[in-house]
Symmetry: C2
Subunit: 162 residues, 2 copies
DNA sequence: TTGATAAATGTAACCCTATAACATATCAAC
DNA sequence: GTTGATATGTTATAGGGTTACATTTATCAA
């Protein structure tokens, strides 16, 4: 199972691996992995949680990489449109993808207590939703699947699982 | 199959039925179905599509029922929290529930061309998402399931299906 | 029926999220 | 090295949502 995001793991190596994968993908597909785009991805990877665009922008501003909203949104658009990051609609926030490069429909498990986010796979064309779509003649192109609840740590009674 | 929302149907009777169901539910549960709350639900039922809070507020203002955002948001909170309406996260908009009173996890089919929305049932605890949750020890309390694509009418080449 | 409590409304001000528009710079390829 | 496309800098503004507080209306028990 490749659900990750809860529990401990070797963070610096997961970050390096993701960056390398994105770098390769961009080279292969002739995409410009510019400093701002790279830095935004790094920020998302480092925090390893859902971040608002303005929170990201604060960091960019501190580093002199840009100070106006479009700077952050443009970088995020690039990352999201190529599957390097995802938007969590429920939080109006963004997370780095945990398996960039692979074609996939992400599903998220969002902790309502500590805002931790884990990414899993969804198969929108299967199950009830797929059946409803087929029955009505609706063609699914994209899906938002986000579950809210309590992550393992917060269930264990941690008052606020940092 | 109880996916509805695409295609024709007897609209005034579907609206009356929904209002009656909500009225009953409120009486039984001693909830105050006040004029503003009722009117907001009526507006959502009448338009039969996803509407932004400010769009609803415009109508309320025209009718002298309130002019500030909290008026609309409070009514919507009431409707959503009791399952009489749902929020479409992807659109930052709201729709009337098509089967109020019944306990359910809604899933939506959203047309990217004409913004029509159909409500279906989801079963978040089943399928891939449920497995991912079980595996990681995450407890799902709520789910957002929204598919984007083309509705039957728009697929048939209608340049903009009303 | 009155008084206490809880629930709902009115209103002003504000915060967060996101995009439009336009000028400038940089890149990629011929 | 010129050109066309792509990316960035910046200003202003649109859109969505909440806080806070005063006021009113409903509920229910004494």
């Amino acid at each position: 199972m490749d659900t990750i995001g809860f529990g401990q793991h070797d963070h610096s190596s997961c970050m390096r691996a993701a960056l390398a994968a994105v770098e390769n993908y961009c080279t292969e597909h002739k995409l410009q992995f510019t400093p701002v785009r790279r830095r935004v991805l790094e920020i998302l990877l480092a925090r390893h949680r859902a971040m608002g665009a303005y929170e990201i922008l604060d960091t960019l501003r501190d580093e002199g990489l840009g100070s106006q909203p479009p700077v952050a949104y443009r970088a995020l658009d690039f990352l999201v449109s190529h599957g390097f990051a995802h938007k969590i609609e429920r939080l109006n926030a963004f997370v780095a993808c945990t398996h960039p490069g692979q074609d996939h429909t992400p599903a998220f498990l969002i902790c309502r207590n500590c805002d931790a986010v884990a990414e899993a796979h969804a198969e929108p064309s299967r199950g009830m939703l797929g059946r409803a779509a087929t029955d009505t003649g609706f063609s699914i192109e994209q899906a938002v699947v986000e579950a809210l609840g309590l992550c393992p740590d917060c269930r264990k009674g941690a008052p606020a699982c940092a």
